[in-house]
């Protein structure tokens, strides 16, 4: 069979209606797969982030409720923070250019203190001893990060608090790089406070503040 005969045979083959429909369906399915590819993978990322945040909320609630004192709660939640937060990213974002004013040891100390500080913030903001864990309600992807929305029971006054967790895949796992309440980003808020402290009194003063905040 010559090449032209094969071609003619093929053309005559796809002229048949049933085959034509099948071929079209195949093409459509292919394009659907291609175009849906990223969103499918994005959904997977969002799902992973949601699972991670839910695990964070549950772990934090359990750690808090098991602890008898506030300092014990902080200590317990500190390990949750270390597990679920990208502490290095937090450190970089919180210090910004002020980082250059820190010596190596001061930076190390800051990084060591940071999980405790974030844990204390968590306890102060969301309460350490909630009867129920927060609940993840949704997720969306923005600029490569997944924003996971959750509802946490309010410490007092009833009602819920909507908290949005910003997660980024670091080391193969989604980790929390910021969270915001009512649109107020914790990183931006604390970055401003830290910058001001470092400018006024230097890096040692900031570390000292972190220590006393955690101990208080």
């Amino acid at each position: 069979m010559t090449a032209s005969a094969v071609l003619q045979n093929s053309v005559s083959t796809i002229k048949r209606p049933a085959l034509l429909i099948a071929f079209s369906a195949l093409i459509t399915a292919f394009w659907l797969m291609v175009s849906a590819g990223p969103s499918l993978s994005q959904s997977a990322g969002e799902a992973a982030a949601m699972r991670q945040v839910q695990a964070l909320l549950t772990s934090a609630q359990q750690a808090g409720s098991r602890s008898s004192s506030k300092s014990a709660q902080v200590q317990a939640i500190r390990s949750v923070v270390r597990r679920h937060f990208a502490v290095g990213t937090w450190a970089n974002a919180l210090l910004g250019r002020q980082k250059s004013k820190f010596s190596g040891s001061q930076q190390s100390e800051f990084r060591r203190l940071l999980p405790g500080y974030l844990a204390k913030l968590y306890v102060n903001q969301f309460g350490g001893r909630s009867v129920r864990a927060g609940e993840v309600t949704g997720a969306s992807t923005r600029r490569g990060d997944v924003l996971v929305t959750s509802r946490l029971p309010r410490g007092s006054g009833g009602g819920n608090l909507t908290v949005v967790w910003r997660t980024r895949v670091i080391g193969g796992k989604p980790r929390v790089i910021d969270y915001s309440v009512g649109g107020v980003s914790n990183v931006v808020l604390k970055r401003s406070e830290f910058t001001s402290k470092v400018r006024q009194s230097g890096p040692a003063s900031l570390n000292s503040f972190l220590r006393s905040f955690i101990a208080a």
């Binding site: 974002a93 910004g96 250019r97 913030l121 102060n124 903001q125 923005r142 600029r143 924003l147 410490g155 007092s156 006054g157 009833g158 009602g159 819920n160 608090l161 909507t162 949005v164 910003r166 910021d178 915001s180 309440v181 009512g182 649109g183 107020v184 980003s185 990183v187 931006v188 808020l189 970055r191 401003s192 406070e193 910058t195």
Partner: protein, 875 residues
């Protein structure tokens, strides 16, 4: 001299014989002149065109203007307000009207304002420093929940509940809520103002933008600038008029509440010139009427008959029309200096007719052709000589680099000759044709007046002469302070809207209009040059187009990225779930009670609680107004944050064309915009700035260079012209009078008058400028005129005592007084140039009159005695 006298008598007799033909000829000429004036005459107020265009600094500036027309011709709207929200909102509405209104948009192009431009609204965050950006995003972050809640429901109840929620959650979570205190202060001010019946809208930008703290603030508040190019109509007397009116209509079109909280002005070269012409012409009718009345009054005192007052004024009007007709045909456009030729003509044109008529009525057969011929026989030569010397004085300006004055020189020379010809032709012809103009000989009046003048001058001339010499000596000591102010701004009415707006620009170092420019062939060399320039002590900043491409964008994007979710929440998310209201409380009372319960460390919160108590007692209508005041600019903030979410990497290509055109020419050359570090309102600081930049690079151009070099050029031109005039006049006078004594008797008082005028300029701090520099040629013209009349008559009569009894000193006195009377009213003009012209004219003509009338005869007496002694000694 005798020959000239005889010739003049012959001409006058000839004119009288054909008087009707002469009058008819004049009528035709006057009609033609009037047509020429209406058809061709214009005024160009561009002061940069008054100097020789071939001068190096003129060429550099011309080249700069051609390459960057957006700088020279820009019209500038300055919007000022206490808060940037109001300034921005007003600027947006003005720009929109100018761009979108089909009635306005044809009159302006390239409308641009950084505060309203989409590029800067979108990428504005990148133009902040890292610290500013951090602070701005921090503020935005802290306000995010409040803004998100209000976006959905911008009402007072939601406002109060959101603040209560923020307070409660802040307390629970150990948030530092001190940042709210400034906001509470602003809210309180807004509510209190409304309770007092005033409008103080709340600034949302101040709450969220850190750059508002350091925003460009003049004494009157925040400033926003809109640049545009007027579409000039050169067929109109005021080419920028339609553009000016269009911008005014755009300003009028903004919302009434914005008008109440903003101050908006227009300035820029086209507007300054438009208003300058308007300020010069405003009240000119009243001034002219008053001047005419004063001149007529003086002429009446001089002539004692209304007939000759009318005749003198007719002769003046004829000379003015004929000379203006010549100006229209020969030059077309007059400039800021040459437009003052009218002043010269009134000052000098009257002289000839005054002398003619004063001598005509001296003759026994007053106004008969014989009397007029006799007048010609007596003063004809003096009239010709004074006309020639004065014309020569004016022509001495022609070869100078001061082309503005050169034009005036030509007009002055032509005008003087025309006035002279009119006085010896039209005046005798009119007297011959119209019997009403014939006045009887004023024997009685002349004698009385003559004896009064004679008495004063004879008795007091020695102390008066000594006084003048003493003043002249004092003037020498202040001569070093005499200067020429070449800044056209110094001429204008300081209270005119465009000048007040210009002052606001001058008060801000970023917009000060005295800037220099350097041009480089490419970006790299321009950026490098700018960097080197900024190292100079007298340079505050050196900007290029590259400064509109933000630096360290990567770092800034990282910072913006941190706040990205916050910004999205503000424009599309939800704020905190509101806390429940306590029983029987409204949102207002709940917030009030919560704030009232705060500690002493939150005084602003507690003050707001007091204000909320008052608001709670107000009626619904008042609360609705408070709600409007609080939310007036809220949508603008949401729109700004929305635009900021679109922030993207900025490259030079993205910079708006209207802005780029100010820095990059069409052929790709780069301009460096150089601002001074000192207050260049001080002329010495301006000179230092120009000197330092010129020493760095001799190709610098711009307004400061123009001003400094124009001053030097004009000063040099004046010295050159005065030297030529002095030598020429003395030579002509000597040639005609054939008497060295008379020439010195004319020249020395003239030099003293010039010294006194310069000394007065320094002493009274009235620097010479483009408007009042006219006094120098006028001084020469009037001084030489008067000196020749006094000297030739004194020579003819043999003694000063006899001279003082004739009509000559009276004619000299009145020709000077009429000039002072004509222009003294200008001293109170709003236009500073015009006012200084009136002041300097009054000073210089007084000095000239006194010096000539007193010193010329004294000098001639002294020379005569000395000659007599010498001749006796020889015998």
């Amino acid at each position: 001299m005798q020959f000239l006298n005889k010739r003049m008598a012959h001409i006058i007799i000839s004119v009288c014989k054909r008087a009707r033909s002469w009058v008819a000829g004049y009528l035709i000429l006057l009609a033609l002149s009037a047509v020429a004036i209406i058809t061709f005459l214009g005024v160009d107020t561009d002061s940069s065109k008054m100097l020789d265009p071939d001068l190096a600094f003129q060429q550099r500036t011309q080249a700069l203007n051609e390459d960057f027309p957006a700088i020279k011709n820009a019209m500038i709207v300055v919007v000022r307000a206490d808060i940037s929200d109001a300034a921005d909102a007003a600027a947006i509405q003005i720009v929109r009207a100018l761009v979108e209104d089909p009635d306005l948009s044809p009159h302006v192009t390239d409308v641009f304002s950084a505060s309203t431009d989409a590029f800067f609204r979108r990428n504005g965050l990148l133009f902040q420093s890292e610290e500013e950006l951090d602070e701005t995003l921090s503020r935005l972050n802290k306000s995010a929940s409040l803004l998100a809640s209000l976006r959905g429901d911008p009402t007072l109840p939601t406002f109060f509940r959101s603040l209560s929620t923020a307070e409660e959650l802040g307390k629970q979570a150990d948030f530092d809520l001190a940042f709210l205190d400034d906001f509470y202060g602003d809210v309180r001010a807004t509510i209190e103002a409304r309770l007092a019946g005033n409008l103080v809208p709340l600034s949302w930008a101040q709450t969220t933008d850190s750059t508002e703290d350091d925003a460009v603030k003049t004494e009157r508040g925040v400033q926003r600038i809109i640049y545009m190019q007027p579409v000039l109509d050169f067929t109109a007397v005021q080419p920028a008029k339609q553009a000016f009116l269009a911008v005014n209509r755009a300003i009028d079109s903004i919302d009434a509440d914005l008008k109440a909280v903003t101050e908006i002005g227009i300035t820029g070269d086209p507007v300054l010139r438009f208003e300058e012409l308007r300020s010069v012409s405003t009240g000119i009718g009243v001034s002219l009427g008053l001047s005419l009345a004063l001149v007529a009054g003086l002429l009446f005192i001089a002539f004692r008959t209304i007939k000759h007052v009318v005749l003198t004024l007719l002769a003046l009007v004829a000379a003015l029309i004929l000379t203006t007709g010549f100006a229209a045909l020969y030059f077309g456009d007059l400039n800021l200096v040459s437009v003052a030729f009218v002043v010269l003509l009134v000052g000098l044109g009257l002289d000839f007719t005054i002398h003619v008529l004063a001598h005509v009525v001296d003759e026994p057969q007053s106004c008969a052709p014989e009397a007029m011929a006799a007048m010609g026989q007596t003063i004809g030569g003096a009239l010709i000589l004074s006309a020639l010397t004065t014309a020569f004085a004016f022509l001495s300006f022609v070869p100078t680099k001061f082309v503005g004055m050169a034009q005036l020189g030509v007009l002055g020379a032509v005008g003087v000759m025309v006035a002279f010809i009119v006085s010896v032709t039209l005046v005798p012809a009119l007297i011959t044709c119209i019997p009403w103009f014939r006045a009887r000989a004023l024997k009685q009046g002349v004698r009385k007046d003559g004896s009064l003048t004679s008495s004063v001058l004879t008795k007091s001339r020695t102390p008066l002469a000594l006084g003048l010499l003493a003043l002249g000596t004092l003037a020498i000591f202040v001569l070093s302070d005499v200067r020429f102010d070449a800044d056209p701004v110094g001429l204008r009415d300081p209270d005119s809207p465009s000048m007040l707006t210009l002052e606001a620009l001058k008060a801000d170092p970023d917009t000060v209009p005295y800037r220099l420019s350097l041009v480089r062939s490419d970006a790299a060399s321009a950026i490098e040059t700018a960097r080197d320039l900024e190292a100079l002590r007298l340079v505050k900043s050196a900007r290029t187009a590259d400064d509109f491409v933000p630096k360290e964008q990567d770092v800034k994007f990282e910072i913006i990225d941190l706040a990205f979710p916050t910004m999205e929440t503000i424009v599309g998310g939800e704020g905190l779930e509101q806390t429940a209201l306590p029983p029987d409380q409204t949102p207002l009372t709940a917030l009030r009670d919560r704030l009232a319960a705060l500690g002493d460390d939150r005084p602003a919160a507690r003050d707001l609680a007091v204000t909320l108590t008052r608001l709670n007692e107000a009626d619904a209508a008042l609360r609705a107004e408070v709600e409007r005041d609080i939310f007036r600019f809220f949508p603008d903030l949401i729109a700004t944050v929305n635009a900021q979410l679109e922030v993207d990497t900025v490259t030079l290509d993205g910079v708006p064309d209207a802005l780029k055109a100010r820095f990059i020419s069409e052929d790709g050359r780069w301009r460096i915009d150089i601002a001074p570090s000192e207050d260049v309102d001080d002329p010495r600081a301006l000179e230092r700035f120009v000197a330092q930049v010129e020493a760095f690079d001799g190709e610098a151009a711009g307004a400061p260079l123009q001003i400094v070099n124009a001053g030097k050029t004009v000063s040099a031109a004046m010295v050159q012209a005065l030297t030529i005039a002095a030598i020429g006049i003395l030579a002509i006078s000597f040639a005609v009078l054939q008497n060295v004594t008379a020439v010195f008797a004319i020249g020395l008082p003239l030099a003293l008058a010039a010294l006194l005028t310069a000394g007065a300029s320094a002493f009274f701090a009235i620097p010479f400028n483009y408007a009042n520099v006219i006094v120098l040629p006028l001084l020469i013209g009037l001084g030489v005129d008067s000196g020749i009349h006094m000297a030739s008559r004194r020579k003819m009569l043999g003694s000063s005592d006899t001279l003082y009894k004739t009509s000559t000193p009276r004619a000299v006195l009145f020709s000077g007084l009429t000039t002072i009377a004509a222009f003294a009213t200008l001293s109170v003009s709003d236009h500073r140039g015009t006012a200084s012209m009136g002041q300097m004219l009054a000073i210089s003509i007084t000095a000239t009159l006194l010096a000539t009338v007193i010193l010329t005869p004294i000098l001639m007496d002294a020379f005569s005695k000395s000659q007599n002694r010498a001749s006796r000694h020889e015998k």
